[in-house]
Amino acid sequence: MDGKTLGQKLQAGKFVITSEIGPPKGINIEPHLKEAEYLKEKVDAFNVTDLQSSVLRLGSLAVSKLLIERGFEPVFQMTCRDRNRLALQSDLLSASVFGIKNILCLTGDHPFLGDHPDAKPVFDLDSVSLLRVAGQLMTGRDMMGNELDGRPEFFLGAVASPAYQPIELQIIKMEKKIEAGAKFFQTQAVYDLHDFEKFMRMVARYNIPVLGGIVLLKTAGMAKYMNENVAGVNVPDHYIQMMARAKKEERPKISIQIAAELIKGMKNLCQGIHIMPLGWERYVPQVLEASGF
């Protein structure tokens, strides 16, 4: 984090590295901010997830603000799951007065998947219309065309899932997101470089920065679980076997080795990486070192 913003770095063609903070279930945020400190000099920005997996947690807006206070650059994730168009626009304005520029616009998981499955699913807007609305706020007007006192400035991002089937449906949506104002993409976790290369070839015509997703494998069981339950994730058998063969104390080492292999392969394919450590923040410096950063 060297004075230039994520947007400026991507524009300048720098290979960027972002990581992620999943806010806690509760208010005990200090340990998470301390973990982020380990990575401060290593990564360009931190995503803050928005009630990930539809589980009630501390909010992404508040944690993004705390990151700014401590000298980090946040990427404020916003989903359409819980807020209607009034609340989303208001939170975008709030983000702006807190100095938050990077907004990652997502549709969001369905509440059925989380710990409040009885909740009303909102989805008043979707990822595409949220991008459009954020863009409209930047012109000094709300989505109804009413004038705002002052203009917020955002750097808008969106997500894509390279292993999604049918991929054409995903690519068409990606095209809509770009038209709606997305300036960069983060992807679902990548485990197959060959598939990822195919995806990058398909989207090359859009000439937009893509940050390849990295999720650190913790166990063979986690890999199998993701293969069965997480959309767009396919961990190949040889990685599952590497994890299964490793003794418990060796697992972080093997996981780092796998992640580094993927990152090295991605360096020439995309414009950056987004690491989702899911609690293994302490190993991220080693992953980066093993990847040649």
């Binding site: 168009r85 549709t107 969001g108 998981d109 369905h110 059925f112 998947l113 699913p121 989805f123 008043d124 807007l125 979707d126 990822s127 595409v128 219309s129 459009r132 609305v133 989505m143 997500v159 894509a160 899932s161 999604y164 089937q165 049918p166 054409e168 449906l169 995903q170 068409i172 949506k173 095209e175 809509k176 038209e179 709606a180 679902q188 339950n229 997480v230 959309a231 767009g232």
Partner: protein
């Protein structure tokens, strides 16, 4: 009683912009009563379409299009005229439009918006459901409703949550947007997926007080 309103002619015309030969299909059930599928309405739209340079290959009214079996039987006699058309404009509620799309494998274009299914305990024995959103999207989704088939009621395409074609909320539920994608690919209209839809207008779901006063809204008034 369920209630439908006509889309503006301009909206219908824009939907069928790329079509030359059209067939007009109306429902002789509730839509007829609402005057969105009566002889006069269909003839008026027919005249305007002809004026706009469209060729009308034929027209037909079927009683209660919500019964797919009945509908399939009735349209079979008009197969030639239907084959001559590249698109079908349907004057019916959201169920009728989806039934037509399911049977005909052609682009269907709603002439109507469904505002309310009211207390109607009607015939629809199929899996099609109408969300009474008041902004019928069936013309751009290959006749599969994104409001009732997508768990998030998305109007701009699939979220990233589907796995093996199934919705993220239930492994035995098809992803509505993958169904829409497959239908549009089959009828070679994937171009429709690329149009960005505006956020929904939820105001349309609150029936107008003028409408509430009419016999079309509540038959016992």
């Amino acid at each position: 009683m369920l209630y439908t309103e006509m889309k503006s002619f301009e909206e219908i015309r824009m939907c069928v912009d790329s079509e030359k030969d059209l067939f007009l299909l109306g429902c002789g059930g509730c839509a007829d009563v609402c005057k969105t599928a009566d002889e006069k309405t269909i003839s008026e739209i027919e005249a305007k379409l002809k004026e706009a340079g469209k060729n009308i290959t034929g027209k037909l009214t079927v009683d209660f299009m919500c019964s797919k079996t009945l509908l399939a039987k009735r349209v079979a006699r008009y197969q030639q005229l239907l084959d001559n058309a590249s698109g079908i404009i349907v004057f019916a509620c959201g169920i009728g439009i989806q039934c037509a799309a399911a049977i005909l494998d052609k682009s269907v274009y709603p002439a109507t918006n469904t505002l309310s299914l009211g207390g109607f305990q009607g015939l629809w024995p199929g899996e099609e459901r109408c969300g009474q959103c008041g902004t019928c999207y069936l013309g751009i989704t290959g006749g599969i409703c994104p409001i009732t088939f997508c768990a998030k009621e998305l109007v701009n395409g699939a979220c990233g949550g589907a796995k093996d074609g199934k919705c993220e909320i239930k492994t035995d539920k098809e992803c509505g947007w993958i169904l829409i994608y497959e239908r549009l690919r089959k009828i070679q209209r994937l171009d429709l997926l690329k149009q960005t839809q505006n956020p929904r207008n939820f105001k349309k779901m609150e029936p107008d007080s003028e409408l509430r006063k009419t016999i079309h809204f509540a038959i016992d008034k």
